[in-house]
Amino acid sequence: MQTQPLLREGRARSLAAFYLATMRTAIATQLQYRVANYFYMLGMVAEPVIYLVVWSAIARSNGGSVDGITPGQFAAYYIVWTLVRNMNIVFGAPFWEWRIRQGELSGQLLRPLHPLHYDLAYFAGWKVVVVGLWVPIALALSAIFHPDLHPSGLQIGVFVVAIWGAYLIRSMFQSTIGMLNFWTTRGAAVFDLYMTAELLLSGRLVPLRLMPGWVQTLATYTPFKWTFSFPIEALAGAPSTRTLLLGLAQQLLWAVIGLGLFSVAWRSAIRRFSAVGG
């Protein structure tokens, strides 16, 4: 009777130790590849800068704003976007293909922990490096585009939690889609379709307010909105306390749904796996 809770505590503690150790490894590894990380980031920053420039041009030609959004607010939206996007990068679906094809998975299956733990921990550690490298980019973008950003203390607090919520949700759904690789070697077309849906429904392309009404309605029923629009608007918009807290609850809900979907997909996927190399 006494041993059961103790065992559980031991498991939680060793899991925490595993996460910390993996994160430390990720930080140490990624710090060595600063140039490679910067290449990646600069390529990534091009995307929001394009959106920002185009929409600012439209705002100016419309006499100062588009649907009430000024260039300064666009700047705030897309600069916060860059941090959210960095937090959003996860062990994506295409990497599952690589992992299976190269035989990496065989070795990982022999470990006592599920590979998902490793992905979550490694990418979480990587974020520490990424956010550090992001700061100068954000300062440069702010100096150029003059964002109109005045968050309250609560907004900052919710934002800090929400970017991790976005990270979890995106990890779960990307991994679930990644399970397709157990059935086909040509998942790329499906990933493209998925990424396009995300682009249009998440607020990644434009603030969702600029979308037609039915798209906005559709977006509330997908996980995408909670990985881009919600964290960005939490910091750059003017949301009510109620919206902020309800949003966090929604994020939790989507993370749990994602985890559920992943577990179901994983269970039938892993039966299809036949080892390659090792």
Partner: protein, 261 residues
Amino acid sequence: MNVLRVGWLYLKVGVLNELQYRVNFFVQLFQSLIQVGTGLVVLSLVYSHTQELNGWRESELLSLLGVQILLGGVIHTFIQPNMEKLMEDVQQGTLDYALTKPEDAQLLISVRQVRFWQLVEVISGLVLLVVGLTGTRSSVGVLDGLAFVLALGLGAVLVYCFWLIVTIGAFWIVRMEHVLELFEGIYQTGRWPVGVYPGWLRYSLTFLVPVAFAVTVPAEAVTSRLHALTLLGACGFAAVLLVFTRWLWRIGLRRYSGASA
């Protein structure tokens, strides 16, 4: 002329190789449809909020999008696969295999791979271009057409040089795999006329990363906005960049120590 013959042979072998994987055609077609669909959605979104973007109407921007996708197809078919292979070879020391052949090494590393099915992108770009052009009021003259073909060819040369210059960096910085994301990101700026961008960015997109020359200039040619001087400038710029790339390639090679050294 031996150079051309070797290039042609490599191209043929590459195409034959790719023709074995026919399903890839349908995958590529599907991906191109998604790409074009997304582009159209973005355009209609932008033009639901404005009539004109920096003097370009919707049909004209559609032509620009067509040119960008078309040239992107050329890059993905001929340029990018070779540059990826070069990066990998430098990283693993297997560039020896290309260097020990009697033909010019820069030629060999530029023609080793062809991703034939990516040509679907060229076709979808052409379709967009034609649809865009039928929507514009002015007709396209023979001279405009010739200028377009010339400008597009120059664009391909400029992009080749830029890609190779960046890839040569692998001789110094070995881990270069993210450079692909960097290039893809920057190439997306070509979806919009270069005039939209603020001054400093416009100049770097024109001269540092020649996306403007590669995409905007051909699109200007078919929408009758091109000055002869710009085209002449593009010719000169391409020539200078080719020579510079050749010089840098030689310098870079000196840094290469091979797998067995």
